[in-house]
Symmetry: C2
Subunit: 226 residues, 2 copies
């Protein structure tokens, strides 16, 4: 690690939003302390440092708290400027990267209980993947990454979701990153997961599956208790 | 106007999101052509230039379309750098400005039909205004604006909503920008509306009231036809 500063990340290992911050810091080769947020109940530190949303991640730099993963990743890029640029230099390319990052962040899929609901969610997921397959070309301009020749903003934002996409594939039997349907996206996903900055913070799929199963059981119990 | 470039804004006069883009261009003294989007049906230009969301505003610069108002304002700031900086220079201040801009953008209030619903919405609005009254201090550091000594990112994002906030006040009888409850916010709102860059694109309240009444009538008709 090239730099050593007063950097802390308040987060939890399963969160893709937290993972974004850790990947960005890894790319910048910035040392940081990881503080595990237990969430039940939320820590005093979380409530104090993100009083508006009370959500992880929170980045602390020299004691200042910064919230919201997309904002934190931009902060990291603008603070440690000499190593691995994350956003493109050109304003138009930056706007396009921000557009797709916000698009990925806005996606929410409802829980599906019936075959009909499952089919509807699958259709939405495939429509989103198709757009991202096309965006890969626009953003990456023929490079290996959304960021072109190097892992960039959209690679971090979407890459952080890959663990949960794979867990969803295993739990639902739905092949999302299908090399036949989305060849560029599928190949990109393998490349992202092999990157050191990502690999070192991406949890093992089995551990995520177990966490996912526990969460699903908890949600079902809560919904049947209503 | 100091600069003349190939700049067009696709929008509609009542939209606060469109207004943000126009205020930012005014502050930068950039000449632009305004293209009125009629929305019913959506124009070919809109569908082609924002195929993902099909929403206004779209900024065209040298033929390139840029979508999403918060992204467009950042693009404007990063493209015309020599006149009136919109985002702060310091990365931490930028993160704080982005946080509040995103907070304002995320706010959605449900239509209230009963007294109970109206009270609940009013409570949410006042809670939001209280946070923004506090944020004015944090962002503005004692200056006249969220941007400190000059109109900045948060001033544009919140300022663009002032017309509709005032319409809401008139239509509901609820005093939102209450000088007793939120003295800084109320004084700031008057200052924003008196700024040339804002005043020249802020529609008259009567015109907005008329538009608001038509919209409400259309929504009620649609909901009673269900």
């Amino acid at each position: 690690m090239a730099e050593s500063e007063d950097v802390k990340v308040l987060g939890a290992w399963p969160s893709p939003f937290v993972m974004r911050v850790r990947i960005a810091l890894n790319l910048k080769k910035v040392d940081y302390e990881f503080i595990a947020e237990t969430m039940h109940p939320k820590s005093e530190l979380l409530l104090k440092s993100n009083p508006v949303y009370k959500k992880i991640p929170v980045l602390f730099h020299k004691g200042n708290p910064i919230c919201e993963s997309l904002i934190i990743v931009q902060y990291i890029d603008e603070t440690w400027t000499s190593v691995h640029p994350i956003l493109p230099a050109d304003p138009y390319d930056r706007a396009i990267a921000r557009f797709w990052a916000a698009y990925i962040d806005d996606k929410e899929y409802n829980m599906a209980n019936t075959d009909e609901e499952r089919a509807a969610v699958a259709e939405q997921i495939f429509a989103g993947a198709k757009l991202l397959e096309e965006a890969f070309q626009t953003c990456g301009k023929g490079g290996k990454w959304f960021g072109g020749d190097a892992v960039g903003y959209v690679d971090i934002v979407l890459g952080s979701c890959l663990g949960w996409i794979r867990v969803t594939e295993k739990m639902s039997g739905l092949k999302i990153l299908d090399g036949d349907k989305f060849p560029q996206l599928a190949a990109w996903a393998d490349r992202v997961c092999a990157e050191e900055a990502v690999k070192s913070v991406m949890p093992e799929i089995d551990k995520m599956l177990e966490f996912g199963a526990t969460m699903m059981a908890r949600l079902k119990a809560a919904s049947s208790a209503k």
